[in-house]
Symmetry: C2
Subunit: 225 residues, 2 copies
């Protein structure tokens, strides 16, 4: 009975996600669904990313949070269009929430849209919002056991960012074990060690975003060229 | 429509939670629902707690995880009864899951039962499993903005443990700001700074657990006396 309800909700979500995806394809916009636990460092990563890429690419951000506009306020300081979605306690973004705010963005003027999901290592991975790819940020302070304990999000993510490596010496995180587990779940996943404090690894992340955005433009053309 | 579904699920959960709660009252067992993000340090805290309290109190643990028995394996090393619940991807424990495993525990021989919920700062706070109190573990590496961003779990928790304070100097966590926000959400909440690495603050936590367990025994009597 409860499983049936779940299937209906997911089925409806997939339909709206497909509508979003069609719209993004028409406009040639690469869309990334950025996920991770509370405090994994998603917003800090986005702030660095906005500063690094806004000269090359036309960017926008959708911020998902239960309450507050704290994250959107941080992104807005970088003079990038940002829309806050408050889920009022909901544990993930869904395709309908994203669809509802898209009219607030000038899609004609966009190359890359990053959707920062609610901080949660479980539920966001179950709901496609119309993105091209998912990414997961795992702070090394969360522990190396997390990929096997929360497998879906790592299976679904084309890229796994292992964040806060600057404080690796003060933790018992086993980097090789975490990478091995992520590769078991998703053999082709790109895995990057990063630190938003020291900048380590961020160029690899920026290059990946640039390449994905370029490939999307080439693939779908889009009216924005 | 979806809200209606949610109310029905929560209503059913509350009913089963009340059944669990009656059973725990009959037996005079204090039950704690321990929550927090993935990697907040819930299991490490429990390992310390088992080692410190098992001489004084009859303890058991229910471990909630999406997959794997990694956490239960860690607890079992302390020679304390432990039951693993795997939610197969479910983002929280509910009262029915807990009810189903209770026959595996010898409730006649218990003073304190700690239920470690799925690592998630959102959903577990919405589902009572029949506990006397909720507790939240927040790692200071997650950031001081988390109480206001995830208010329900802090509102619901009688005690907030601010964990990993040993690495406070390597972070930008503002302790006073976090405490102020937690007090705004729950003025009577007990807030304790702890480190499972150095042991800081753990005695305060142990004393709180001892006092709660004693008070429950006194209040409900229980057949276990």
């Amino acid at each position: 009975m409860e499983i049936q309800v779940m299937e209906n909700i997911l089925g409806k979500n997939d339909q709206i996600a497909a509508e979003n995806q069609n719209l993004f394809a028409q406009k040639g916009i690469f869309v990334l669904n950025l996920m991770g636990s509370p405090g994994a460092g998603k917003t800090a990563l986005l702030e660095k990313t906005m500063a690094a890429l806004k000269a090359d690419l036309r960017l926008a951000v959708i911020e998902g949070d239960l309450f507050t506009s704290k994250d959107a306020d941080r992104i807005a300081q970088h003079n990038v269009p940002v829309i806050q979605i408050n889920t009022s306690g909901g544990c993930h973004l869904d395709a309908a929430m994203v669809q509802k705010v898209l009219p607030k963005l000038d899609l004609e003027q966009l190359d890359l849209l990053i959707v920062e999901n609610v901080g949660n290592l479980v539920c966001p991975a179950e709901f496609n919002v119309g993105e091209d790819e998912k990414a997961v940020v795992l702070s090394i302070t969360e522990g190396d056991d997390k990929p096997l304990k929360y497998p879906l999000i790592f299976k679904e993510s084309a890229i796994s960012l292992l964040n806060k490596v600057d404080i690796l010496p003060y933790t018992n995180f086993d980097m090789e074990s975490a990478k091995t587990d992520i590769r078991k779940l998703h053999p082709a996943a790109k895995i990057v060690e990063v630190s938003c404090m020291t900048g380590q690894g961020l160029d690899v992340w920026y290059d990946w975003l640039r390449a994905q955005t370029k490939a999307k433009k080439k693939r779908d053309g889009g009216e924005n060229q």
